[in-house]
């Protein structure tokens, strides 16, 4: 039957193939994302505390993460936190960002520029490859100096030495003073592709704003993070005159917490996608049921013959159940193969984009794919198989 009606069988199998492919991808990508998050924690360090504008509850990110502009955080807030001389805060960096297309001779790159503080290198665990980072004096003096990420330096200048060269951002001239070391991609920030200028320059010359986007504080030890978070909250509440805690206009969170939030979101997404895959599998199951009913109809005479020569009802049931399960199992295998190919493709693309991505083809998803596909054949094959087994052999033999 499978061989005889190739097109029909293929179309019937499609639902299962798509479903299994989806399950495969969702489960495996899920595992890769977990790996990505762990890698993230490692690369930026687990002892960072982020301060974002806008209130949020425990488990969700503040709306500023989604692009809503909230202006409640100011440069002075960061200064105040540092001035308190809280013993466990080693350093603190502030950030604003914008984007522009930067051109050097023939090279045109669309990029994100960050206005940040001189403490950036320390907080981010970054280091300079060539030249220098800007100083605290430059940070507040609207200095038109610029540090290049490792990749963008190559993209813009090729083999030339960029130090001392001029770059225009938003029609303002900047002098390149340094290049950062290559760091590799990350979820939060792709440092290698970014430009860095003093925060005052970015606020006043490039963006025309007086708030900041976020800050990050580096804490000396992991066990002091909670204390530091409370300290920062106290300072900000004091400065912003907040009495009721629910009126907080900022969110303070450790990177670990932030990444946990990301995991939570990806898990919810995974669950949602698996649910969609399940729907595809159920639809596919009905397709199998449909084709098996058609097959039983077409092969009525054969069923009659088989019964005449001694097949019991259970023999007929078994035959059609095995056939249904064979179809769904083959579909499952095809789905697993296609899913694996897509996963390999995803990994190649993401790695080409300079992000860290482990190619994980989750063994659980393969086992699950096999079991689920056979299970669907069993569940949706029962009704047609029973119908076949209950045919009256005399009438079946006469069927034309």
């Amino acid at each position: 039957m499978i061989v005889r009606n190739k097109v029909r069988s293929f179309l019937t199998m499609l639902g299962i193939v798509i479903g299994i492919t989806a399950v495969m991808i969702v489960l495996s990508v899920g595992e890769s994302v977990q790996g990505l998050i762990l890698n993230e924690v490692k690369s930026i360090g687990s002892n960072l505390v982020g301060v974002l504008p806008g209130y949020s509850d425990e488990n969700s990110p503040p709306s500023s993460v989604f692009g809503v502009v909230i202006t409640s955080l100011k440069y002075g807030d960061g200064e105040a936190i540092l001035k308190g001389n809280y013993p466990h805060i080693e350093s603190l960096a502030m950030y604003v960002s914008g984007s522009d297309i930067v051109t050097v001779e023939d090279n045109k790159v669309s990029t994100t520029f960050y206005g940040t503080t001189a403490s950036y290198l320390d907080v981010q665990n970054s280091s300079i490859e060539e030249g220098r980072f800007f100083t605290e004096e430059e940070e507040v003096a609207n200095a038109r100096v610029l540090v290049l990420g490792n990749q963008i330096a190559k993209d813009l200048f090729g083999d030339q030495d960029p130090i001392g060269k001029k770059i225009k951002i938003k029609k303002a001239n900047f002098t390149v003073i340094g290049i950062l070391k290559k760091k590799g991609g990350s979820l939060i920030q792709n440092e290698d592709g970014n430009l860095f200028v003093p925060i005052s320059t970015a606020q006043n010359i490039l963006l025309g704003i007086n708030h900041i986007s976020f800050m990050r504080a580096k804490i000396d030890k992991t066990e002091n993070i909670d204390g530091a978070i409370e300290y920062i909250k106290d300072v900000l509440r004091d400065r912003h005159n907040i009495i009721d805690l629910k009126e907080d206009d900022f969110t303070v969170r450790s990177t670990t917490q932030a990444l946990e939030t990301i995991s939570l979101i990806t898990n919810a997404l995974r669950f949602f996608l698996v649910a969609i895959a399940a729907i595809s599998l159920i639809v596919g199951g009905f397709g199998i049921m449909n084709i098996m009913l058609a097959t039983v109809q077409e092969r009525t005479k054969e069923i009659g013959l088989r019964k005449a020569i001694g097949a019991k009802n259970t023999d007929i049931t078994r035959q059609f159940l095995i056939e249904a399960m064979a179809i769904t199992f083959i579909s499952g295998i095809i789905g697993i193969v296609i899913g694996s190919l897509i996963l390999i493709l995803i990994s190649v693309i993401i790695n080409a984009l300079n992000y860290h991505w482990d190619l994980i083809i989750s063994p659980i998803s393969i086992i699950l794919g096999c079991i689920v596909s056979i299970g669907i054949g069993l569940i949706f094959g029962i009704a047609p198989a029973r119908k076949a087994s209950l045919l009256n052999p005399i009438e079946a033999l006469r069927y034309e």
Binding site: E302, G304, K307, A308, I309, G310, A311, K312
Partner: protein, 238 residues
């Protein structure tokens, strides 16, 4: 006694309308007999054959096969009787076109616990007997009608049945192939096989030793064939 039926009845009930197809049929068949059941269409001969071959159940009377009371058998036991005790030859051959000739012949053994090597050996032997050993891997739809029916005969013999039921075996064949098939049946009978032939044609029926004539669900006549036809046209006096 191989087959013994007494006052066998069969009623079909359709929308509260009861149709009596068999109205009390009584006869015995000995092992090794070649019996024709003959009658016009609607006479009840097919229904009788279905009951005798365990495909259907009587609604009255008794049917004993060997020593067993067939009316007391359940569906699985009937299937087992079909598997072990009877072989079928149909008018329309009923071969599976997507299986090879060899596989078709082996098919009844799928429902027994015969080992595969044994299945192949027996099927090859039988196909040789019916003169088709050169067609083992053909699809049945590549064969002529006569060849198809010979495949079906081989299939009917594979489980060494007690009785072979032949339902209008020459109905779809030209006279030459038909004669060939009847000759094989007579040879099988000569070798000791019990054969029950169902037909509406007198000429076909007369290849048997005994004809049970049936009409409107009752037996008109049950007698030995005096002028028995020998396949190939010659007439033999038995």
């Amino acid at each position: 006694m191989l087959i013994s039926v007494k006052n066998l009845q069969k009623d079909f009930i359709n929308d509260d309308v009861v149709t009596s197809v068999l109205k009390g049929v009584t006869f015995d068949i000995e092992k090794g007999e070649f019996v024709s059941i003959m009658g016009p269409s609607g006479s009840g001969k097919s229904t009788l054959m279905h009951i005798l071959s365990f495909l259907d159940k009587a609604t009255g009377g008794t049917y004993n096969f060997e020593t067993r009371d067939v009316s007391k058998l359940n569906d699985d036991e009937l299937a087992e009787m079909r598997s072990k005790k009877v072989g079928f030859i149909f008018q329309s051959f009923n071969l599976l076109n997507r299986s090879s000739v060899l596989e078709n012949v082996m098919l009844p053994l799928v429902y027994t616990d015969t080992l595969n090597d044994e299945r192949v050996k027996r099927a090859k032997d039988l196909l040789e007997k019916v003169g088709l050993s050169h067609r083992l891997n053909y699809s049945p739809n590549k064969l002529s009608g006569g060849e198809k029916q010979r495949v079906a005969i081989a299939r009917a013999l594979i489980n060494s049945p007690e009785v072979i039921f032949a339902d209008e075996p020459t109905g779809n064949l030209d006279s030459k192939s038909g004669a060939q098939v009847m000759k094989i049946l007579q040879d099988l009978n000569d070798q000791g096989h019990t054969i029950i032939l169902v037909t509406h044609e007198k000429a076909t029926a007369e290849h048997a030793e005994r004809i049970i004539r049936i009409k409107d669900g009752v037996i008109l006549d049950d007698s030995k064939v005096l002028q028995r036809l020998r396949a190939g046209g010659e007439v033999l006096n038995k």
